[in-house]
Structure formats: structure tokens, C-alpha cells
Amino acid sequence: MQERKILTTPLSDEVIRELKAGEMAYISGVVYTARDAAHKKMYDLLDGGKPMPFDFTGAAVYYAGPCPAKPGKPIGSIGPTTSGRMDLYAPKLMDQGLKVMIGKGLRNKEVIDSIVKHGGIYFAAIGGAAALMGKSVESAEVIAFDDLGTEAVRRLVVKELPVIVAIDSRGNNMYDEGRKKYQI
């Protein structure tokens, strides 16, 4: 059995640079959830010259909106949502220092260009494996936009959240490469 590659956040530029599209890894440490409504709010804050709800340096944003936590549990089921809906916002957030994104599905050219420009990375978690991923979460706390319910920004502490490098810092895209390999 191959040893698990564990990445502890915040991720340094060096760690990001070494990761290659298609590699499996496990993320431990703090990740921040933000999806559609939170992205719109962060975008509006930026337009107004206001600070972001968390420090972007080395931070990982997880495109996810969890189920409610059962009593005694930190969180309910939590898997990734479709990242493409955040493509409109991602380049501007990357200009502010955000480098690590976790989600699922395809990204547009602007996002991939931005990943290359800033030396960022896009991880995919397995869509729909949400009960299993909920078990990776050790604690969760809402840190911004509480009124958004499931779409609020949460600070999660995760242990070995399973991910795959979908787009690496050079712009190599696992979705394209994987599909080409098995296309008949």
C-alpha cells in the first residue's frame, strides 16, 4: 500500500508547485467553505474596498454547503459542489492572494490562466461522497454571512480530506487528460 500524501494547510508555494495533475492527496488543517452566495458577497466586499472574511495567504477554499449537523457531530454530509459556478469570481479572488481551491468539475480558461499566473492549484473532491467526507471534518464554525445558512463561510478543521489534483500550477488538466485516455 502506497503511503498517503498528506498536505497540511496553509500550503506553501513550494508544496503547490510539486503537485501534479492526477495525483491523489489528503488535506489536513483549516479549509474555508464558500459557494455561490458567499462568493457574490466577497466580490461585493472587494468592490467596496472591504477586507475578506479570512486571510487568503495559503488558505484553501472549499466549494461546499454542508447538511446540518446531527447532535454531537461537528457537521453533516459535505461534498464538493460544481466549481464552474464560481469561475466568474475565482480570478479576482486569486488576484487577492487566494491560491488553493477544492471543488468538483470543469473550470473555464480564465480560471486556468489565473492558476498558472499565480501558481495556484485546483483540487477535486469526489462529488457525492459526502457522508464519507463529513467524517473528515473535526470542527466547523461559521465565520461570515451566517444569514446564508448552508452557504455561510465556515472555518473547517479537516483531517485527511481525500482529493485529486485536477488542475496543477502549470495548468495541466486531469479532466482533459483522463478523458482523452479513455475516449474510444
Binding site: 454547503g65 449537523a69 453533516g76 459535505i78 468538483k104 468539475g105 470543469l106
Partner: protein, 281 residues
């Protein structure tokens, strides 16, 4: 003879089915994931299918939602014309069941009250309800909460009659190809052909309810389903979209009479969970 059904019983049933559909993967899909794992050509694909099976096991054991997107609640009501609902409106009884099921089951509330102002209703209501009135005094419900990762990848085209079955195939394959990794493959593809625009869309959603492995009773449509499934699995999209030989588990086609001038085709994509649960009163 009119048979009376208490609206409270309908609420109880909807509540139970909301939780059941979201936490228990149906046996047909579960078995299909297992056989797909054996047949899958990509090692990473096999691993992902294994993870999905493990996830379904955890969800069932803990009564936890399989996926955090517990959907917009679509309810198919098939009601005998000799049934009389007492104690309140049928629609409100169903919505109350959704409200209770989503609260009690710790399911995510994903519905906004208006598509443009986008304020969350915080109880997952209202449901999308389809009514079908049939002879007799039966009352049958299917609760099919629909996740939007796959719903957003669905398409509808109004083809010309001259485009025929070839045109239909192109629409289905292009829809799945463009969707790529987004709808959480391996997917189930619901195809509605004919009727009017809204009838085709309704059929494509209804087609998702058919158990994996069963085919349309018409041999030519069963053949079309088989051909489409083969073509889709040659696209290479694979489990979670990382490449592989398992992109779809099933293609289910339903048809209806249509107009001399038209050939509507709707493709509704269901993810690898494609939740649904049914019950009767």
C-alpha cells in the same frame, strides 16, 4: 365508492420518503456501482467507484445523507380518481411532509423562494409536484429529491421531424459530453421524446425513476437505450470525470405522441445517487 385518505397520513409518508430517498441508495444503483467497479478500465476510476460504494454504506448505516445536496424535492403523485383527501389540501400536506422530513432528517435546505431574489425558504419547500390521476382508489407517491449539479447539465431541444432518431442520438450524446465531469458520473440519463416542450421535460425526469437494468418495453426503444449507453461510455469521461469506461449506468427513454411539425427531445441527467423512494396509502 369513494375512499377517504387523511391528509396527515400523506404528510407522514412524505416525511419518511424524504429521509429514505436521501440516505438509502436504491438497490439497483448500488448493485450497478459494484459491477461497474469490476468492469471499469481505469484504476483511479475503480478507486472512485469503491469510494462511492463505501459512502453509500456509511450513509445507510448512519441514516446520513448520501450527498450534501439533498435536492429540490420532486414528488410524483399517482392518485385514483375515487380517492378523496380529507383534513386539508393535498399540496399543503405534501409540503408539510417535506418541511418535517428535511428538519428531522438533518437534510440540507436548498430552495430559494424566488429565482431572482434568491432568499432561502429554510425548510426546502415548496416541492415540485406532478399529479397523475388514474382510475380506481389507489394512492401512490414517489419522492425524488433532485440535486442541481446534474440538473444544471440537462438540456431540451426542439428538433425538426426530419432529424429523426439520428438527431435524437446527437442531442443525448452532446448533452452528456458537454456535461463532462459536472453532473457526478457515473450518471443515469433520462430522455423524453415527443409530446410538447413541457411533456418532453416531464418524461425525461420520470425516466430517471426506472430501475437501472430495466428497459423500455418497446423493443426499438430498448435498442435505442442500449446503443446510447454504449456510445456514452465511449466518451471516456469516467467516474467523477477523471477518465474511464463508466460514464453512465443507464439510459432510460420515454416517449409520447407529438405534433406533425415537431420532435421535442429532453435530456435530464441524474447523478450517481439519483435519489428516489416510493410508498402507498
Amino acid at each position: 365508492m369513494v375512499r377517504e385518505i387523511q391528509s396527515g397520513k400523506i404528510t407522514d409518508l412524505v416525511e419518511k420518503l424524504c429521509i429514505d430517498a436521501n440516505c438509502n441508495l436504491t438497490g439497483d444503483i448500488y448493485q450497478c456501482l459494484r459491477s461497474c467497479r469490476v468492469a471499469e478500465k481505469s484504476e483511479l476510476g475503480k478507486e472512485i467507484l469503491g469510494t462511492l460504494i463505501e459512502n453509500a454504506d456509511i450513509a445507510r448505516r448512519e441514516t446520513a445523507p448520501i450527498c450534501q445536496d439533498t435536492g429540490m424535492t420532486v414528488v410524483f403523485v399517482q392518485m385514483g380518481q375515487d380517492v378523496h383527501i380529507t383534513g386539508g389540501s393535498l399540496e399543503e400536506a405534501i409540503n408539510e411532509g417535506v418541511r418535517r422530513g428535511y428538519e428531522k432528517g438533518y437534510l440540507r435546505k436548498s430552495v430559494v423562494r424566488d429565482p431572482l431574489d434568491r432568499v432561502n425558504t429554510k425548510d426546502n419547500t415548496p416541492a415540485v409536484i406532478h399529479y397523475e390521476i388514474v382510475p380506481g382508489d389507489t394512492f401512490h407517491l414517489i419522492v425524488a429529491p433532485k440535486g442541481f449539479g446534474s440538473e444544471n447539465m440537462s438540456q431540451l431541444k426542439m428538433l425538426k421531424p426530419s432529424q429523426g432518431v439520428q438527431g435524437v442520438k446527437e442531442v443525448v450524446i452532446n448533452t452528456v459530453s458537454e456535461a463532462g465531469a459536472n453532473p457526478c458520473p457515473p450518471i443515469i440519463v433520462g430522455v423524453g421524446i415527443g409530446g410538447t416542450m413541457e411533456r418532453a421535460a416531464y418524461l425525461s425526469k420520470k425516466a430517471l425513476l426506472r430501475p437501472v437494468g430495466e428497459h423500455n418495453p418497446k423493443p426499438e426503444l430498448a435498442q435505442l437505450e442500449t446503443e446510447l449507453l454504449e456510445a456514452i461510455n465511449k466518451l471516456g469521461i469516467g467516474p467523477a470525470g477523471f477518465g474511464g469506461s463508466t460514464t453512465a449506468m443507464a439510459v432510460n427513454v420515454l416517449t409520447y405522441a407529438t405534433h406533425i411539425a415537431g420532435l421535442p427531445v429532453a435530456v435530464n441527467i441524474g447523478c450517481h445517487v439519483t435519489r428516489h423512494a416510493e410508498g402507498e396509502l
